[in-house]
């Protein structure tokens, strides 16, 4: 194994970094140059992990903007459901009116049929 091949064998573990090939591990044990290289990788990965706690402040307006866009999305959703609700109400109203008119006609025709002729 050559020292240059080490980079391809370095993997991360919960503890830091390791060499995932037995030939590589054997080589590292006897190669100071590669031990130093592994130490650099450990340092790199350790530092990368610490970046998670480095937070960038977006300023208060970001939350306001996000909430406004959620509000807008919520309103659009509400509007859509209202519109579809209105359609249901409109169709339902038409059905009720038609049924009502039909009922009125039936009652009227029955009333006419039962009309008692006036005496004399």
């Amino acid at each position: 194994m050559r020292c240059e091949d080490l980079a391809g064998m370095v993997t991360t573990t919960a503890e830091g970094v390791a060499v995932d090939d037995w030939r590589g591990r054997r080589h590292v044990e006897s190669c100071l140059r590669c031990q130093a290289e592994l130490a650099r990788y450990r340092k790199l990965l350790r530092t990368l992990r610490t970046l998670r706690s480095d937070l960038f402040d977006p300023g208060p307006e970001l939350v306001a903007d996000v909430l406004a866009s959620l509000e807008e999305a919520g309103e659009r959703h509400l509007l859509r459901s209202l519109l579809s609700g209105h359609r249901v109400v409109y169709v339902g109203g038409l059905a009720v009116a038609t049924a009502g008119a039909a009922g009125a006609l039936v009652i009227a025709s029955r009333t006419r049929g039962r009309r008692v002729p006036l005496a004399g």
Binding site: L6, R52, V66
Partner: protein
């Protein structure tokens, strides 16, 4: 498990049940972390803001699908990564500015004294800068894996690549960061390139 994480997960459960106020509280609790990830991925404040807005909108629409078997923040990281990739793709189409994977990084530290960079704070600053100089496709993988500890399969899913491709990108990204931060020794790629 920290109290703050528990609170966030409790809010996520309430939001999943349709509690709108709980979702708004989630935004307040997690927006700085989400913005930080977005900024690390896209490298621009305005773009990061757009990504965060889009990410929370997607989260809001999909909160009923959040099963709760992972942390809410992890779920949010995945959505943010996906939004960032979409955003970068759109930006690339418009600006044609993305660097190729093998474009050389500017070497800002060659003339510096290595001893002066021993300080951890300085190394973090330098690493932050080096990450910003990586091509976005390499940066996304190393940030999601090594900073945010997402699994290879999740990274691959959100970036729309195979797990193998994610691992290859991770290796290339680490090698470039290593070369940038510790330029004392050539990387394997540089040795190979010199030999060709």
């Amino acid at each position: 498990m920290s109290d703050a994480s528990d609170t966030v997960d409790a809010l996520a459960r309430a939001a999943r049940e349709g509690d709108r106020r709980a979702f708004e509280e989630l935004v307040r609790s997690t927006s700085t972390e989400t913005y930080t990830l977005a900024y690390r991925l896209v490298g621009d404040e305005d773009d990061a803001r757009d990504v965060v807005q889009e990410a929370y909108l997607r989260a809001y629409r999909g909160i009923s699908r959040f099963r709760g078997d992972a942390r809410f923040t992890t779920w949010m990281y995945r959505i943010t990564a996906n939004c960032a990739v979409t955003h970068l793709e759109r930006r690339r189409r418009h600006r044609h500015e993305e660097l190729a994977d093998d474009a050389p990084l500017a070497d800002h530290c060659a003339e510096r004294d290595p001893q002066a960079r021993a300080d951890v704070g300085a190394l973090r600053d330098e690493l932050t800068q080096a990450l910003q100089e990586l091509p976005p496709r390499l940066r996304a993988v190393v940030v999601l894996r090594d900073v945010y500890d997402l699994r290879h399969e999740d990274i691959a899913a959100e970036l729309g690549i195979t797990e193998t491709a994610a691992k290859v990108r991770l290796h290339r990204a680490r090698a470039r960061l290593r070369a940038r931060l510790f330029p004392e020794r050539e990387t394997r790629e540089e040795v190979t390139a010199r030999a060709v």
